[in-house]
């Protein structure tokens, strides 16, 4: 699984506005890959996950309760949208991606295709 960066992105024209790059952890084990992404401030219905061919796109909009007439004095999170794109490798089964989203943390599980699972080869000694 590799990440697509701005320079390899093809749909720039469709979405020109700048976005936040959410921090992620990617952990691989024998059965698949687990991805955690920090998306604080995103309600469940504003999270968009796309898997198209071998491309995984995470897009999410931040919604904060902002009182009327508030003026921002200091901002570290200064954009309202997260976006990050990854390229999945062939052995991952993109049809079986499962996702959980709670307290602003997305957990994605992408299992490896059955043929890519490690198999123990038995050695016969004769």
């Amino acid at each position: 699984m590799t990440e697509k960066t701005d320079s390899t992105r093809t749909d720039d024209a469709a979405r020109p506005e700048p976005t936040l790059l959410p921090p992620v952890d990617v952990i691989e084990d024998a059965e698949g890959i687990t991805l955690y992404a920090d998306l604080p401030g995103v309600p469940k219905d504003k999270l968009n996950l796309h898997v198209e061919a071998d491309t995984l796109t995470i897009e999410a909009d931040i919604q904060l309760e902002i009182p009327a007439g508030m003026e921002s004095t200091y901002a570290e999170v200064s954009l309202p949208r997260y976006r990050r794109v990854f390229t999945l490798s062939k052995e991952l089964d993109s049809g079986k991606v499962s996702a959980e989203f709670a307290q602003g943390v997305l957990r994605l599980r992408i299992p490896k295709a059955a043929h890519a699972q490690p198999r123990k080869v038995e050695i016969r000694v004769e």
Binding site: D29, Q63, S72, E76, V77
Partner: protein, 146 residues
């Protein structure tokens, strides 16, 4: 960092990481307590004539374990975020490790006119929103001329 691949396949990804590290090490802030920006949790601060609004971005932190204290006009937010990974399992590989893990503490100095008795804190979608009312006496008032 420990498990970073020895043969980076994605040049752009590596450049991106390099840029991030450069930003962290050279960008501004000679503060002895580290850089002002990029700490965990990220914070936004805003204000209305009636209140001061603080947003702390604490994804994956159980609100019950957060410690928020307001003392002498200084707001302290402390807590811990645990790393979500199997300990001691040698068959796992960490490819990307960017999310913050460990204890954290951030301190914000508040304006003088806040009312420490009127504080509301809510946690939703991994964002802690603290709203502190300003003192009524400090709010602009129209004086009628008799």
């Amino acid at each position: 960092m420990l498990y970073r691949t020895f043969f980076p396949r994605d040049l752009f990804g590596e450049l991106d990481r390099l840029q991030r590290q450069l930003q962290q090490s050279y960008d501004l802030s000679p503060s002895i307590r580290g850089s002002l920006r990029g700490g965990f949790p990220a914070m936004n601060v805003g204000g209305t004539p009636q209140s001061v609004e603080i947003y702390a971005f604490v994804p994956g932190v159980d609100p019950a374990t957060l410690d928020v204290q307001l003392e002498k006009g200084v707001l302290t937010l402390a807590g811990e975020r645990k790393a979500e990974r199997p300990e001691g399992d040698t068959r796992t590989t960490i490819h990307i490790d960017e999310r913050y893990a460990g204890r954290f503490r951030r301190v914000v100095t508040l304006p003088d006119d806040i009312d420490a008795e009127k504080v509301q804190a809510r946690c939703r979608d991994g964002v802690l929103h603290i709203s502190i009312q300003r003192k009524a006496a400090a709010q602009p008032r129209r004086i009628s001329i008799q």
